[in-house]
């Protein structure tokens, strides 16, 4: 049994030996973000919100437990919450498919996000997945379509959307619920096109070079902030509860700003945010 004090700690750099004197390496962040003791979405939800009622099912096929959705409240502000949920032990991990969503996760999220719009509730999503599940059933039921549709529907929503990246944000499986007006990221969370192992396997045909891949992939919160994808980094220099409370105050602060925008402006702000992402150079026409 962990003691109460240990329980209040998130997996952080304090638990690890820091190899790099100049700071934490990208690979070390990967290890922290994946640490089985790292707090999961439900741990954050418990502290951030005064109330939370989970709502189940996509109304089409099943309830996928890799994503938790529901209604929540901070003070007298109601929210719809969409959260990718990893297990906190083996039993939970099996139930939650190690936090790897099947298409039903995204369809449940779409259903409840549209409901949020109907009742004019802001949405908070928590991103924590190593990716959408690569399985036969997932392909049969349109994993690609589910992810695409989730982004498409999020892009159109007329309510504020705040995204919080708390652990691993990997690939399309994470991106599907990242189409927010504001993106907040924990200092030790990561966000990437693919796992470093997958990346090394594709680019260098050698998955054992994952560590090296992590260093070049630019997957840390700081990297994403520099690319102007992430709007705010939350430091993890304190106990877990304090970090969760920092997220809470950040959600309140961002929401206050976003509520100044009209429905149309919210959609436009989100459009501009993603429209402007891209690194290329323009050249004058060659004759």
């Amino acid at each position: 049994m962990p003691t109460k004090k240990e329980n209040n700690k998130n997996a952080s750099i304090k638990d690890r030996k820091c190899n790099n004197k100049n700071g934490i390496t990208a690979w070390e962040r990967v290890e922290i973000a994946r640490n089985s003791n790292r707090k999961t979405a439900l741990d954050y939800i418990k502290i951030i919100f005064d109330e939370f009622i989970e709502l189940h099912g996509d109304r089409l096929f099943k309830d996928d437990k890799a994503t938790v959705c529901g209604l929540a409240r901070i003070g007298n502000q109601n929210f719809t919450v969409i959260a990718q949920q990893k297990g906190r032990n083996t039993k939970e991990n099996i139930e939650r498919n190690f936090g790897m969503p099947n298409p039903e996760s995204y369809r449940k999220a779409i259903r409840l996000m549209k409901q949020a719009e109907k009742f004019n509730r802001p949405i908070v999503t928590f991103v924590d997945t190593k990716g959408a599940y690569p399985g036969i059933g997932a392909e049969e039921r349109g994993q690609g379509e589910a992810i695409a549709r989730s982004m498409f529907e999020m892009a159109k929503l007329t309510v504020p959307i705040i995204v919080v990246v708390i652990g691993e944000g990997s690939s399309g499986g994470a991106l599907a619920i990242t189409i927010g007006n504001k993106i907040i990221m924990l200092e030790n969370a990561i966000y990437s096109i693919l796992s470093p192992e997958g990346y090394a396997s594709i680019v260098w045909k050698d998955s054992s070079r994952a560590k090296e891949a992590a260093e070049v992939m630019k997957l840390t919160a700081k990297d994403l902030y520099d690319f102007k994808i992430v709007d705010k980094i939350i430091k993890e220099d304190k106990e877990f509860e304090d970090v969760a409370l920092k997220i809470k105050s950040e959600i309140k602060k961002e929401l206050k700003e976003l509520q100044k925008l009209s429905s149309k402006e919210l959609v436009e702000q989100r459009y501009d945010k993603f429209r402007n992402i891209g690194e290329y150079e323009t050249y004058s026409k060659k004759v």
Binding site: A132, A138, A148, F274, T282, Y283
Partner: protein, 283 residues
């Protein structure tokens, strides 16, 4: 140095497929399905379909435009942007140059307007010969630009997808192109323009999980491989062999994710019919 040159030439003059038979490059090509040796001119005249077994060879951008657009009607958009190296990956630039030399294209997609039996449309065609048709910043920007152009010009848009997914070499920026193109499609949707997505072999990953699956109408070529996760990844995850026909166009049709499988020789006429029945007229 001379030895290097000879070595290079040697590599170029031989096509190696699955380490089986080596055929001198030039006028002949082997069908990877029925192993028949085909005269290239015959294959070209047959729209890249094996005359013996009906196998579809992957089509490059130029040939695709030739069989879809009315002759001489394709007008490329002036999008003068060039790929950069946001992750500062070693040899990314060299690889790009190699693909440019090989394909005579600047990136993995070509975008412009054209006419299909007289009906004007925006057309984007991806090419798997260029970096596996992967989507980085330039591909994302060009497709987004084309969607915006379709809105401004009040034209329908047809996108021929063919891609391994998001381009690894540009990391998170590539992933975000999925969101960017999807955002643009919501505007197209609102404006009420028709979007026909055509899936060709192969369509995977970030392209499958974004614009390829968001067409008002989704078509596919017969037997095209279409999926989100790659087959090797799925096999490794579940620890078993995949069933026959998994992730083919026929599989997608059976599971309800595409509207119609269209043979290559009928694609132009089908697109024309669909444009027409959606109320678009000859200009």
């Amino acid at each position: 140095m001379i030895v290097d040159k000879i070595k290079k030439r040697d590599n170029k003059s031989i096509i190696k497929k699955d380490n089986k038979v080596d055929i001198p490059e030039g006028k002949w090509i082997k069908c990877e399905h029925c192993k028949e040796i085909i005269y290239k001119e015959v294959l070209k005249a047959n729209n890249g379909i094996c005359p013996t077994c009906g196998h579809y060879f992957r089509m490059n951008c130029k040939s695709r435009i030739e069989i879809i657009a009315d002759e001489g009607s394709f007008k490329k958009f002036n999008i003068n942007i060039d790929t950069v190296n946001p992750l500062k990956m070693q040899d990314y630039k060299e690889k790009l140059e190699k693909f440019r030399e090989k394909t005579n294209m600047d990136e993995a997609v070509q975008c412009g307007t054209c006419k299909i039996n007289g009906i004007e449309t925006v057309l984007c065609v991806m090419d798997s010969n260029f970096f596996m048709g992967s989507m980085g910043s330039v591909v994302g920007e060009k497709i987004t630009y084309s969607i915006e152009k379709a809105i401004n010009l009040k034209l329908p848009i047809i996108i021929f997808s063919c891609s391994g997914g998001a381009r690894m070499q540009e990391g998170i920026i590539s992933l975000m192109q999925m969101a960017k193109v999807t955002e643009a499609l919501t505007k197209l949707d609102k404006a009420g323009n028709l979007y026909i997505s055509v899936l060709t072999d192969p369509t995977y990953g970030g392209v499958t999980a974004s614009f390829a699956n968001l067409g008002d109408i989704i078509l596919a070529e017969p037997k095209a491989m279409i999926g989100f996760a790659g087959q090797r990844v799925i096999e490794q995850t579940i620890g078993e062999k995949l069933p026959d026909g998994f992730q083919t166009a026929e599989f997608m049709l059976e599971h309800g994710f595409i509207d119609k499988i269209v043979e290559r020789n009928l694609m132009k006429e089908t697109l024309y019919d669909l444009l027409r029945l959606n109320g678009y007229k000859k200009v």
